[in-house]
Symmetry: C2
Subunit: 228 residues, 2 copies
């Protein structure tokens, strides 16, 4: 996942808090984005921020977003309003010896920019393909692709990955020296990480599906939330 | 979780897209918020939205957020900028017979408002307590509580849950009639839901912890991501 083009922080994509957690390799950005199903898209509507979960997909350095042409946030983004799109994975709770140093292990990518409405029919189909494959690998070719009416009802936006930052926290708590157990302490406070991961359960067939249709490999063998 | 005070949508907390998925019971709002570890806080900085993952905790109809007093988003929110705070849980991928009807099962709460900086020392401690307990139940009393220096370095904000919306999607895909398998179809497209959930792994003790300190029940028995 190592890429030749490092991330070049602009003032707003420069990580200011917890700079030691910042990553500057473009491969880290790709890895965080590619591991997600949903990001949080923020736009400004009537002077106030609105942030909603939004599906996405990536093709090289372009992030594709989509939604109903009737959605207010999508309409604002389509009209050229600046957007921020953030993908976060939680990897574990960090238990410290003090309340203050409790934390989370996480991977987070933040993309700033102005989205470009995708109007070219071929690029729109490409965008919907990478969006579908991000959500459900294998589904683009296995299911009916969008018809003219569905294409008209769907807004696809392209967001360039030029201005982005990545933060990743891993490892144990960063407790103060004074909070560490003294030698011989008979009852030290436990500290460490409770890792967690996302696992899939048993596929639930649609009630309208004929009995006995096997669960395809694209569903059955799906891996979720790969570690960093 | 049923509450006597239903959610009263304002224009911006009225669910416009997928209104059939909107919930109006305050208990649904509490349930979605209480099941999360991190939300996405959006503010407007220099005319553009910024959205970052942020810890939180709830006490009745107040959401407490916190962060470093040096963080730009927290500073803007402290200064009275409007905020939006969104908590999203993903429950499963919805596999449809068409790419268009692919979806996700999810629970999402969106809170709009203006945050109030918490300056009263007692309320600040309460806020930090509920924040700590949301992240790590049991840790507030089991670990060292914040000292004066830590309190000074931490901004705590209160966000009222007056203006909020909840959307929940459950169940199978909503395919078009024409895409359903015809009787006798020998190779129908599988459709249904691949549910997923978050599970915790084996606790990883801090390398600085003396050997043999048992993992406490607050870590060992922790339940994550309870279903709706």
């Amino acid at each position: 996942m190592v890429s030749a083009t490092p991330l070049s922080p602009t003032p707003r994509s420069t990580v200011r808090r917890g700079a030691k957690r910042a990553r500057t390799d473009r491969g880290d950005l790709y890895a965080v984005l590619d591991a997600g199903l949903v990001g949080h898209l923020a736009v400004v509507l009537d002077g106030a921020p609105v942030v909603l979960p939004t599906g996405y997909g990536r093709s090289d350095d372009t992030l594709y977003l989509h939604g109903s042409t009737g959605a207010g946030t999508l309409r604002a983004a389509t009209a050229g309003a600046p957007v921020c799109f953030t993908v976060t994975h939680l990897d574990g709770v960090v238990y410290a010896r003090s309340a203050f140093h409790h934390s989370l292990n996480y991977r987070c990518a933040v993309v700033h920019g102005t989205a470009r409405p995708v109007t070219d029919p071929d690029e729109k189909l490409l965008g919907l393909q990478v969006l579908t494959e991000q959500l459900a690998p294998g589904s683009w070719t296995a299911t009916r692709q969008p018809d003219r009416k569905e294409l008209a009802a769907t807004a696809v936006l392209a967001l360039d990955l030029a201005e982005a930052s990545v933060k990743i926290r891993t490892g144990p708590p960063g407790d103060d020296e004074a909070d560490l157990a003294a030698p011989g302490d008979s009852d030290p406070v436990w500290a460490g990480v409770l890792p967690f991961r996302t696992v899939s359960g048993t596929p639930e067939p649609c009630p309208l599906l004929p009995v006995g249709v096997p669960v395809p490999g694209r569903v059955r063998n799906r891996a979720l939330s790969p570690p960093a």
